[in-house]
């Protein structure tokens, strides 16, 4: 029995298939099964170790599954997948591209353009090679009775059709038809026998539907085989990896994370932005319930309806009067004021407009704003007029009229609550008004600081003493109710196109701008502080509503989901410069806007556009760094990667599930390293990476079930044209004299030394140059009153520095204490351990390099006339890994290593002479392994995803119980 047990894996979803009510999905070597109707996880079964699943097929009676991946196949029972006592498993010599499971045999098409026929106990019975010998990227096996036709997709733009069961000349079968039309690698082929169409897709970013005149075997018998292009579709902005044909439509999914649903004639039915930019390799459709399931390479799995239920209405006003502004009332009713000052009311029930009032005085200028509850709206005019209307059982009633003392233009009108609102008049005069018993009372007036465009664009209460306004220039002002002038000014929160929206969410303030940035603030003791900023993929952000952000991308109206980080709905509307409104109930979502002097109303059945997430996606690309820790009785994974995000996930107690808590997009470039420390009773997280940026975050336990993460400080150096783009590769946090120092390893050969000041700002203290080599890792340790820093670089040396000397002031040149050559080239991972024996202390250094080598060095540190470090003995191994070693850790008298080669190796070692024994090996399905971390007795391997495994071996278990090692 293996000493490792898989607990959880999150990596590329490489295959999806819907069988009856089951969604079968391949994630790593695990087959996971979900219920389609309940949208719930049912079970999972481990099929391969260290090998991803690339396909699943059922037999006709649907009681068996053939699962394949790479060169491996396995046959299991279905649906009781865990029941199968003995799995049949085998490996063929070639990569399997497609497979079919028949009752007494199975057939496989391989990457070498070969068809293999296997007996039911998986012995190869027959091999037929296509006469065209080349590598394939895709193949499809079509079976009709006993005839097998293979369609194979080549590297060079052709689909080859051959018929191995009919034409077999000593194991070689001729190509009967070549389909030409693509201009690149063919990534996927599908054939729908019933409608007689073949679908192929390619890296030329197009998909082609090919029409057969008759059934495939019929057609191939003809002397003049007629297969012609029915339609070719374009729309993907990158390679198309998968396509599938169904009775009424076909689907394509690609590297651009988009899935398109097309009609057979090539019309677009639906475009879905599925997994935050990660490639799509797995898609399937349930034709019965009309749902599509999409898997991403970020490990996300979601379900969408095929057809989005969207109704587009044009609501022209009587006599085609041009509307000025509109707003939604309750029950989808709409109020509109026209350019002539006529107020109309639209009743959704009767689908008709009613003239409510003629407001001569609002003819040329009128602001219209509805309250949050949609029961009230205000009209505000050029001469300080305010009219408040209330909707009452399908009637609009004017409840009050008010004219400000200044009788001047009302620039903006913001509802703060249902009964209070703020208006802005000339010279930045703000009026806080209170509606009480159908009377408007002036509570107080305020001054907006001087600026060229001196008016507010958004406002919200924070608490009963403070309210916050955003202005046309992108600044925020915090006012206390009792003070005319702002008590706090936060400049340049957004660009000079202004703050578009402010809203309060629990204790956080969110602000939106037209620069594509969502900023979040925390308010502590009435001081507003930036907590995080988030860059969205479109510029004009207009409104935030729970998880949704509404905005405009070019000429399109966009509804974007913050959690999924993807667009759920998009529609051409002409852009953001128009009157529009948006309401959402639990099942519906309505948008209204004025375009070409007509009111357009879009009614969206929310369930039809909103995905059901079966598995939450993780990082879009490779995870470069991950730390796992326990904090306040919970387990957390904090990870950062190539996709520039930092994600905080909570791991459940037995490590079988993760829940995403935060997805923070603040880094300008990729994240290379994450370090955490408990400092002054705060859990601090440092993340660093490209563009020489370091961000400091603080994790706090808000109320027992939710932690918040705030951005305390972001450090980066703005570059000038001639500077090279430096990356921070690693960090070491060092506490000395009640001060927290941060040592950063830089790709330009520098060590940057920072400290944290009292306001949690990262301050650069000094730059120390090592040499023109990329420093890949940095660690430190205390040894007999000495603090020693160790750097490792692409030159393969371990470099020792005396931290005391590094921190000394006024020293011009700083040199290392000692250097020890350990590797031929770059060192990617390091761990150390100090141990005592016979009253002597030693340090053991474990390093893993680019050169496949694991090196263990036993060092003695002495201090006679300065620090001196000697290697007493060493151990090296270059055999267990065959690729870069990216993670090493020492745990008592064992050590662990991981490598890009997807192996985790465990060694036992003795301290005296460094005798090492290889103990065991685990193969992970995670590619591009970048390292691992321990949490309790679990190991979290990360790279292109995460693999959480448990050590089952007794002596390891004891290890983990000893808290000193964790």
């Amino acid at each position: 029995m293996s000493v490792f047990k898989n607990k959880l894996i999150r990596t590329d979803v490489t295959y999806l298939k819907i069988v009856n009510d089951y969604i079968l999905t391949g994630i790593g070597g695990d087959l996971q099964i979900f219920s389609l109707s309940n949208e719930m996880f049912i079970t999972k079964v481990k099929i391969f170790s260290g090998q991803k699943i690339y396909g699943v097929e059922t037999n006709k009676s649907k009681n068996k599954l053939l699962v394949y991946g790479g060169m491996y196949i396995k046959v299991i029972d279905f649906p009781n997948v865990n029941n199968s006592k003995e799995h049949l498993m085998s490996s063929v010599k070639e990569w399997i591209l497609d497979a079919k499971l028949l009752d007494n045999k199975l057939c496989l098409a391989t990457m070498n353009n070969k068809l293999l026929i296997l007996s039911s106990n998986l012995d190869v019975e027959k091999e037929v090679l296509c006469e065209e010998r080349c590598i394939l990227y895709s193949a499809f096996i079509s079976i009709n009775k006993n005839e097998i036709v293979v369609m194979s997709g080549t590297v060079f733009s052709e689909v080859l059709i051959w018929w191995p069961t009919k034409y077999d000349n000593n194991g070689i079968s001729p190509v009967l038809k070549k389909l030409t039309g693509h201009k690149g690698v063919i990534f996927s082929i599908d054939y729908h026998a019933e409608t007689g169409v073949i679908c192929s897709c390619s890296d030329d970013r197009s998909a082609i539907l090919w029409k057969l005149k008759s059934d495939i075997t019929q057609e191939l018998k003809k002397s003049n085989i007629d297969i012609s292009i029915l339609t070719q579709v374009h729309g993907h902005s990158s390679r198309i990896f998968r396509c599938k044909v169904f009775h009424d439509f076909f689907i394509t999914g690609g590297e651009d994370s988009l899935v398109f649903i097309w009609s057979h004639s090539g019309d677009l039915i639906r475009k879905i932005e599925a997994h935050q930019g990660s490639s799509i390799w797995a898609i399937d459709v349930d034709e019965g319930t009309k749902q599509i399931v999409i898997g991403g390479s970020n490990s996300g799995l979601s379900l969408f309806p095929i057809n989005s239920d969207i109704e587009n209405l044009k609501l022209s006003l009587p006599k085609l009067e041009p509307p000025n502004s509109i707003c939604f009332m309750s029950n989808n009713n709409i109020a509109s004021i026209t350019e002539n000052g006529n107020l109309y009311y639209y009743l959704d029930k009767s689908k008709s407009w009613f003239l409510v009032e003629k407001h001569e005085e609002l003819k040329y200028y009128c602001l219209m704003q509805s309250s949050k509850c949609k029961k009230l709206f205000a009209l505000a005019g050029y001469k300080g007029q305010i009219f408040l209307y209330k909707e009452d059982s399908n009637n609009l009633k004017l409840i009050c009229k008010y004219i400000t003392l200044r009788e001047s233009r009302i620039y903006s009108f913001h509802w703060l609550t249902c009964n209070t609102f703020l208006i802005c008049q000339d010279n930045g005069i703000l009026l806080l008004l209170f509606l009480h018993k159908n009377n408007i009372n002036l509570i107080s007036t305020y001054n907006l600081p001087q600026s060229k465009e001196r008016w507010t664009t958004s406002a919200t209460f924070f608490n009963k003493e403070l309210f916050i306004v955003g202005d046309r220039k992108g600044h925020l002002y915090v006012y206390s109710i009792s003070n005319k002038e702002p008590i706090q000014i936060i400049k340049r929160v957004h660009n000079h196109l202004g703050v578009t929206h402010l809203s309060l969410d629990k204790n956080q303030l969110n602000s939106l701008g037209r620069n594509g940035i969502l900023r979040t603030f925390n308010i502590q003791n009435n001081v507003v502080k930036v907590a995080a900023s988030n860059k969205l993929p479109f510029l004009w952000l207009a409104k935030i509503l729970n998880n949704l952000i509404i905005g405009f991308s070019g000429n399109n109206f966009v509804i974007w989901d913050y959690k999924l980080r993807s667009i759920l709905f998009e529609k051409e509307c002409g852009g953001g410069h128009r009157s529009w409104d948006f309401i959402k109930t639990s099942n519906n979502c309505n948008v209204a806007y004025v375009k070409d002097k007509i009111i357009h109303c879009v009614k969206i059945d929310w369930n039809s556009v909103c995905p059901k997430e079966l598995i939450e996606g993780l990082h879009v690309n490779q995870i470069n760094s991950l730390v796992a820790f326990n904090y306040m009785n919970k387990k957390y994974l904090v990870s950062g990667g190539e996709d520039t995000t930092i994600q905080i996930n909570e791991l459940n107690n037995n490590c079988t599930l993760i829940k995403k808590l935060h997805n923070l997009k603040s880094h300008l470039s990729n994240v290379r390293t994450i370090k955490h420390v408990l400092w002054k009773n705060q859990k601090l997280i440092f993340s660093a990476g490209g563009r020489a940026q370091i961000i400091l975050w603080a994790i706090k336990n808000e109320n027992n079930d939710c932690i918040s993460c705030n951005e305390f400080c972001s450090y980066y150096e703005s570059m000038n044209t001639d500077d090279a783009e430096m990356r921070i590769m690693d960090l070491y946090l060092h506490i000395h004299n009640e001060k927290l120092y941060i040592f950063a390893a830089c790709s330009n050969g520098f060590i940057k030394i920072f400290y944290l000041d009292d306001s949690n700002k990262i301050i650069l203290k000094e730059n120390v140059f090592y040499k023109l080599k990329c420093i890949t890792k940095i660690i430190g340790f205390n040894f007999d009153k000495h603090s020693i820093l160790v750097t490792l670089a692409t030159d393969g040396f371990l470099i020792f520095w005396d931290i005391k000397k590094l921190l000394e002031e006024n020293v011009q040149e700083k040199y290392p204490v000692q250097s020890i050559k350990c590797h031929q080239s770059g060192i990617n991972s390091v761990d150390h351990k100090i141990y005592k024996s016979n009253n002597e202390s030693y340090v053991i250094f474990l390093t893993g390099g680019d050169d496949n080598l694991i090196a263990l060095n036993k060092l003695k540190i002495t201090n006679i006339n300065g620090l001196k470090i000697d290697v007493l003995c060493n151990y090296t191994n270059s055999g267990v890994h065959c690729s870069q070693i990216t993670g090493t850790k020492i745990l008592d008298n064992y050590f662990f290593t991981v490598s890009i080669d997807q192996r985790l190796c465990v060694f036992e070692w003795t301290s005296k002479k460094l005798e090492c024994n290889f103990c065991t090996l685990y193969k992970t399905a995670i590619s591009d392994v970048q390292g691992f971390d321990f949490i309790d007795n679990k190991i979290v391997i990360f790279g292109n995803g995460v693999d959480v495994i448990k050590c089952m071996f007794k002596s390891y278990m004891c290890l983990f119980k000893n808290p000193n090692y964790l």
Binding site: W95, F241, T417, N441
Partner: protein, 475 residues
Amino acid sequence: MGKTSKDKRDIYYRKAKEQGWRARSAFKLLQIDEKFDIFKGVTKAVDLCAAPGSWSQVLSRKLYLGETINITEKCTLFHTDDIAEKNNVGESQVDSKKLKNENVKIVAVDLQPMSPLPGVIQLQGDITKYSTAQEIIGHFEGTKADLVVCDGAPDVTGLHCMDIYIQAQLLLGALHITCHVLKVGGTFVAKIFRGKDNDLLTNQLLTLFTEVFVVKPSSSRNSSIEAFVVCQKYNPPQGFEPKLMTPYLNISNKDFSSLEGVNRVIIPFVVCGDVSAYDSDTTYPLQLEGEAPYKYRPPVQPPISPPYYSSKKEDTPPSTLSLKKSKDQLKNIVESFESGSYKLKSLNNTLDKLNNIRKNSEKDSVIQEYIERLGKAVNKITENKNDTLEEIIENLKALDLSKKEDIFVSNPMEDLLQASEELRSSKVEKRMQELKNSNDLTNLEELYNEVNIVADEKTFQEFLAHIELLDTCTC
């Protein structure tokens, strides 16, 4: 990102352009040669997967033109443009009068076409295809090659195990050709991906070659899984028939046990590239010490057009515009503004475009100049603006503001902020209550003015009671 950003990130990319190589890969072959002397005595060579052709350049110059190439010096051959400023230190060692080595034979093969090189025969085809192999073999009828190199790599898909498998297939394809054309004792150099289980494959090379090394040139990125096998002394087993190569070599060798133990044969891993050589992970300053002043150079061989370029329909525009395209677009926009022929309707699109351009080329001087011109044009329009234009113009002006500044926080009422809640509200309320109780109306009014509340006390209290509820709807 400006055009120099790739130069900044990648020293070898920059050096390749300086020295006139079509791709940075040239350095990998040169560094392998530095260590293993693979060109010694070679007159006939095959370059598999050669495009855009930097390895073929190396072969052409070393074998056909008989040059010695010093990696660290500047060379001036094959430059397609202005690179010819020779500096004295790196005097080119080409002797133009030297006779070309006419009995040299170099065959280069790739899926992609590539521009011609002196002394190189070019074939276009898929090396994993049997027919291509036949064609290459045809060129070596009666003779044998001394060296076969293969730098082939698939367009990676992101599914690593598949990419690694395809890479292994390319290697097998190359090896199949090699076994037909390589003389006994000859050398084979090929790219491999160091990933899952690649040792199973490389180990088997020992059945065909006496010496096998896995080599990582320092010009290959540390983080990349790419490496090379250098196989020397071709020595096929007795009676070896290249056609039946597969039984000898297979990546699915099932006998894992022999390969997983610590005692199995381990192919030595060698890092090459002089100690002083650059490594491609380090960030180097653009201006390196002791070198001529840095100057941006365009790529020697522009990348071959990807398949989708020729796709019939317009694709959705790529998210990052090429610099050239950006400039053209910007130029059009600027000119339309200067001449007043801009269209209001397309402005929103224009704005997004501009923003994209700016994002991609913040530091480009030409773009900066255009933006300035645009700013002026916009200002001019602003002078006789009408109301509808107002906001649009505002957007355009936005683009002019290129300075990026950080958020700046100030607390003009620091003391007030620091003060406890009591001071701000309760205390005032308390005082009000006192004054009210004592019916001190003048002072009460003053206090109101002082705290700037204009509503009468009753309304204010009601207001306070209302906002206590904040977000709950009271309608």
